[in-house]
């Protein structure tokens, strides 16, 4: 187990294309860090540089305090789960999991290998498949074999390269919690690459958002959601994605396409002398005004609008509200949408209302929004003008506390099971983790 430090990591390919442009990142011992971004942002390249399958053009990579730039993958003692699992098709599940152990010639006697493999297999519920070949396994089982191969050798860190992208939705959800549970119990430093922001939000202690090879923001999921640094991060995090609408500043009022709202002192100073800004509104922060109590309605701003289409999902209701955009920001928003792998079809606001709402296709609705949750961005640079660094820092600090607490709880539960279970099997993984909670 070890910390991983990236210092100004640069990757240029042979044709001069810069895939990663100077990324610096501190990953603490035992931490679960997610690298996330749209396709082509360099996240997989970064992971492959950490594991040693890709040369580092410039910068320093340290694992456990030692510079490993020039070390071969085998000398970095990391375990990796590949997107397509990369199982050895000619070996049984048992031999696949035992493969890393057998490579360390003479390090483990046969009985030790058998014990370790069976232990890993029990953890991942693969015991009855040990003698089968990968070709005869389902997608989820293959995925678990790949994880078994990673956990069996007590590596310094786990690296995951989009491990769930080949699974169907239900299995993905199950494996996601499984990975989270496993990481907590083993307390192993983990770097996880994904383009799926749900995985990023649910799994990570901290999430690093990448865009075109540049690090945008590294923060806890909550800080990313509430205090994004720029348009890109705000648009990437959240599902359905944040709505961006042009906001024209007129005196002490901010004019949105569908509503006018007063600007308070704080917002006023933050906006400065800009006449046009981009306003970000989270779909889930909208409410159907008719369902709210009277005094709550007064605390925010309400507006009338025409609903174009609705989707009732049981737990909530999505309503689509078309609006006319401002020509000065249209191009900017279109670029952003394309960068986030969107289609840029039409300008519309998505709102997520309570499923009790009676708003339906074509109906007129009165919606409510809390102005305190409004985000305002500079239309040129995309910088979030409403971001509060102190709040963001505090959220991250709380998150770090939570992480340590949950790590300790997981270790304590483990220890308890070890005590009363008596089964030597259950707690053995921690063999290599003498001080798991120091991260």
């Amino acid at each position: 187990m070890a910390s991983i430090v990236l210092r100004d990591i640069v990757k240029k390919y042979g044709d001069g294309f810069p895939a990663v442009k100077g990324v610096s990142l501190d990953i603490a011992d035992g931490e679960f860090v997610i690298l996330v971004g749209p396709s082509g942002c360099g996240k997989s390249t970064l992971l492959r540089m950490i594991v040693g399958l890709e040369d580092i053009t410039d910068g320093d990579l340290e694992i456990g305090g030692t510079r490993v730039n020039d070390k071969a993958p085998r000398d970095r003692h990391l375990a990796m789960v590949f997107q397509n699992y990369a199982l050895y098709p000619h070996l049984t599940v048992f031999e696949n999991i035992a493969f890393p152990l057998r490579l360390q010639k003479g390090a483990f006697p046969e009985s030790e290998i058998r014990r370790k493999v069976e232990l890993a297999a029990d953890t991942l519920e693969l015991r009855e498949h040990l003698e089968r070949k990968p070709a005869n396994l389902s997608g989820g089982q293959r995925q678990r074999v790949a994880m078994g191969r990673a956990i069996v050798r007590e590596a310094e860190a786990f690296l995951f390269d989009e491990p769930l992208s080949n699974l169907d939705a239900k299995l993905r959800g199950q494996m996601r919690t499984e990975i989270a549970r496993m990481q907590r119990r083993l307390g192993t430093t983990t770097v996880y690459v994904t383009h799926d922001q749900t995985e990023a939000m649910t799994l990570g202690d901290r999430v690093a958002v990448l865009r075109k090879g540049e690090l945008q923001q590294v923060a806890s999921p909550r800080a990313l959601y509430e205090q994004p640094v720029n348009l890109f991060v705000a648009g990437f995090i959240g599902s359905p994605p944040m709505n961006f609408v042009p906001g024209q500043v007129e005196g002490d009022r901010l004019r949105l396409p569908f509503a006018d709202l007063p600007l308070d002192e704080d917002l006023r100073t933050r906006i400065g002398d800009r006449a046009l800004v981009i306003v970000g509104l989270r779909p889930e922060h909208f409410e159907d005004a008719s369902l709210l109590e009277q005094d709550k309605v007064a605390s925010g701003f309400s507006f009338d609008c025409e609903v174009d289409a609705t989707e009732w999902l049981g737990s909530e209701l999505y309503a689509y509200i078309p609006f006319d955009t401002h020509p000065d920001v249209a191009a900017k928003l279109e670029d952003l949408d394309r960068e986030l792998d969107g289609e840029g079809m039409r300008t519309q606001v998505i709102v997520a209302l309570s499923s009790e709402s009676r708003v339906r296709d074509g109906s007129a609705a009165r919606l409510w929004y809390d102005p305190a949750r409004l985000l305002v961005f500079d239309p040129e640079t995309g910088v979030n003008l409403t971001r509060d660094d102190d709040v963001a820092a505090q959220i991250d600090a709380e998150n770090e506390e939570d992480r340590k607490a949950s790590l300790e709880r997981a270790q304590a539960r483990e220890a308890r099971e070890e005590d009363d279970g008596g089964a030597a099997a259950t707690g053995r993984h921690r063999g290599g983790a003498p001080q798991p909670a120091t991260g």
């Binding site: 399958l53 085998r74 003692h77 050895y88 490579l103 360390q104």
Partner: protein, 279 residues
């Protein structure tokens, strides 16, 4: 599948016709090989008296020296040519499938050009050249031309095969703690072995069946392979046709090919279609 009865009947008829067309000569040779010399011209398909006299003649009798030495030449030359072709083709195909280097397409195109080049047109120049430099009527004198036959197709088949191997396995092995060599040996070789084996088999058949080089570039028992040697069989006396012994020899040299094909049918078909579809 949705074949009507009429279609099924037609397919059956076509299959039978093709089988008879392809196998009748083989059956005729096999039947002839069991005839005694006096029955050769009797115009009947099956021998009146079944006899092994022809086999005796080529294996222990008069024709023994001619046949056994050529059999030894055939086996030796084909095996060596196959081994060299398999090794060279494996390395070449590995490089073509794995690495990006200038001239990659050129190599593949050249290989294709060589394999469609008519053999007969280079036999005469080769004959003169070999005589000048002393390769005429030697094993290397046949192995080298055989390589020109077997290498191109081996490279094509193996390149197609190697392209299908997921190279992430090699990387996974390296991350798991293997050296480059270990990763190659433990993760890639087991997957590549069936392809190399199939290719070697196909290369062996090509070398084994060759006649044009065999007859043109040899003159004595020193290097003459079986297909060429068959033409030099003589009857027991000058009034007898050597047809019986030629048939027997043909059967003997066909047996290993048939056995190998039957044993590895599935792999060979897979190997051939891979080369055909993916190449």
């Amino acid at each position: 599948m949705g074949l009507t009865t009429k279609q099924k009947v037609w397919w059956a008829v076509i299959t039978v016709v093709v089988l008879v067309y392809a196998l009748f000569p083989v059956a005729a040779i096999a039947a002839t090989s069991f005839k005694i010399p006096s029955e050769l011209d009797n115009g009947r398909f099956l021998p009146g008296t079944w006899s092994l006299i022809n086999y005796e003649q080529i294996l222990v009798g008069d024709a023994q020296s001619l046949f056994l030495s050529s059999l030894r030449n055939s086996i030796g030359i084909s095996l060596i040519a196959t081994a060299i072709a398999a090794v060279l083709a494996t390395l070449a195909a590995y490089a073509i499938a794995r690495l990006d280097f200038p001239g990659k397409r050129l190599i593949l195109t050249t290989a294709l050009a060589v394999s469609i080049f008519p053999v007969i047109s280079i036999v005469t120049p080769l004959f003169n050249l070999w005589r000048t430099i002393g390769l005429y009527d030697t094993w290397p004198g046949l192995i080298i031309p055989y390589l020109s036959l077997t290498l191109p197709i081996s490279i094509w088949i193996l390149t197609a095969f190697f392209r299908q191997i997921p190279w992430e396995l090699e990387q996974a092995a390296q991350v798991d703690g293997a050296t480059t060599w270990q990763a190659f040996r433990k993760a890639i070789v087991p997957l590549a072995a069936p392809g190399v084996f199939t290719t070697a088999l196909i290369a062996f058949f090509i070398a084994w069946n060759d006649f044009v080089y065999g007859i043109s570039l040899t003159s004595t028992e020193a290097a003459r392979p079986v297909p060429a040697a068959l033409a030099f069989f003589t009857g027991a006396s000058q009034f007898e046709e050597p047809t019986g012994s030629i048939s027997a020899a043909a059967v003997v040299v066909t047996i290993p090919v048939v056995v190998l094909v039957l044993l590895f049918q599935r792999q060979i078909v897979a190997g051939l279609t891979q080369g055909a579809v993916k190449g």
